[in-house]
Amino acid sequence: MKNPHMTMSRSLCAVSAVMLALFVATAPVFSQPPFSATYDSSRQVKLQGPVTRIDWVNPHAFIFIDVRDATGTVTNWAVEVGNPLELERDGWKRSAIKIGDVAAVEGVPAREKRQAFAKSVTVGGKRLFAPPARRATVARQPTPKWPDGQVRLGPPPGKRGYWGPANAKGLVESTAANVPMTDDGLLINLSDADKVAPFKPWARALYELRQRNLLKGDPLSRCIPPGGPRQFLVPNGFQFVEQRDLGRILVLLGGGDRNWRIIFTDGRAQTPPAELVPTYYGSSVGKWQGETLVVDSVGYNEKFWLTNGGLPHTEALHLTERFSRPDLNTLKYEVTVDDPQTYTRPWTGGWTSQWVPDQDVQEYFCEENAESTFIR
């Protein structure tokens, strides 16, 4: 059973199918609201006109252009050109384009608004915002450690850096075979839903409903915090601040309006869930087992999706997260989801994140992109 989104694209011409395949492969790590809900990747649009505004905001940079149609009517289009952090990493600055420049855009139109996701932007014959042909690879370096030999989750002494987004598109049970999905967690084949997690029937039905609705209603699109594992899936990255003298680790999140979370490592016992006020990030206590930080969390509310793609949960959710850093540049994340009200048994999935050296998590407020895109 194909996802209706994908089925629709299959009925189009071969060129569109190829473009779709290319596009899915290069779509942003996460869009807000979900990419599939916003854009119709079965269609293409060509736009040309002068730039009237530039919103160089994290995580989605937009240019706005006035487009004149055959009747002379001018309409203003919002064109998403990519994540500014990635664009700047690739050498592109806000100054690459100026208000008044006449831009030619080829891209994918939004489903409901005068908005497009750019596959190419050309000004004066020069293509802008394209990634370099080949990105530099980072040499493997040893895991940074504290003087007592414990793994550091943050930067080496005297250095800066943070963790970039995950290499996964959503959380999938680790025993499952490959489950193809778009970057915002939309399954290519809906029949793969049973491979994602051991759902109870209501949870399976709700997950499928969200998938069929192309992830419309995603709480993150309303600027609700990305609780649970999803906090590490957002494109803005995250940072650990290890306050060893205080017996805690702060997790500073680049997404979710720069939320933060505390993992207590002072040896305290976990608070019984019944005594907790349910929250987005829960109550977390952690301890080191060798070179792995094991974090036990309970006390979650039901106001967020567990991951991209719409995995549900209840207040009975209990997460066991395992963080390890086999080298400077790699963070392995593994999480066991135990929610007997939603899943038939505990299950485990995970991913890795890459170190972003010499940079800090950049400012991001969800409402800023809301202004660019939602209110149009």
Binding site: W202, A205, G217, P219, K303, W305, H313
Partner: protein, 110 residues
């Protein structure tokens, strides 16, 4: 869409609305439901005149719901379909029987 959704089991929460035999004869109704992992449990009109829900059946293939309860003035059987499940203020509407009375009902999750 404003409001904080409850993204867990779609029936969990407090629902308010009314039921009645006609558009002009309506009775306020509040239903509180929660999912315990095996069953949906709850109460109709919590307070001095509350009616404990005897059973809730949910067909997740089409999101139809049947609520059974025994009130002082007769057995309650409400059958409806969940609408707009993604909304924080999703709705449940359908037919309502209470004793010998018949009508329709429409409740919205607060």
């Amino acid at each position: 869409m404003l409001g904080l959704a409850q993204e867990g089991h779609p029936l969990t929460g407090t629902w308010t609305g009314d039921w009645g035999p006609s558009a002009t004869q309506r009775n306020h109704v509040t239903i509180v439901m929660s999912w315990d992992g095996s069953n949906v449990t709850g109460t109709i009109n919590p307070g001095p005149d509350s009616v404990p829900i005897a059973s809730v059946f949910v067909d997740v293939t089409n999101w139809t719901v049947r609520i059974e309860a025994d009130a002082k003035d007769g057995h309650i059987s409400a059958e409806g379909r969940l609408e707009d499940i993604a909304s924080p203020h999703r709705k449940l509407a359908g037919s309502w029987r209470q004793g010998n009375a018949k009508g329709d009902f429409r409740i919205t999750r607060d």
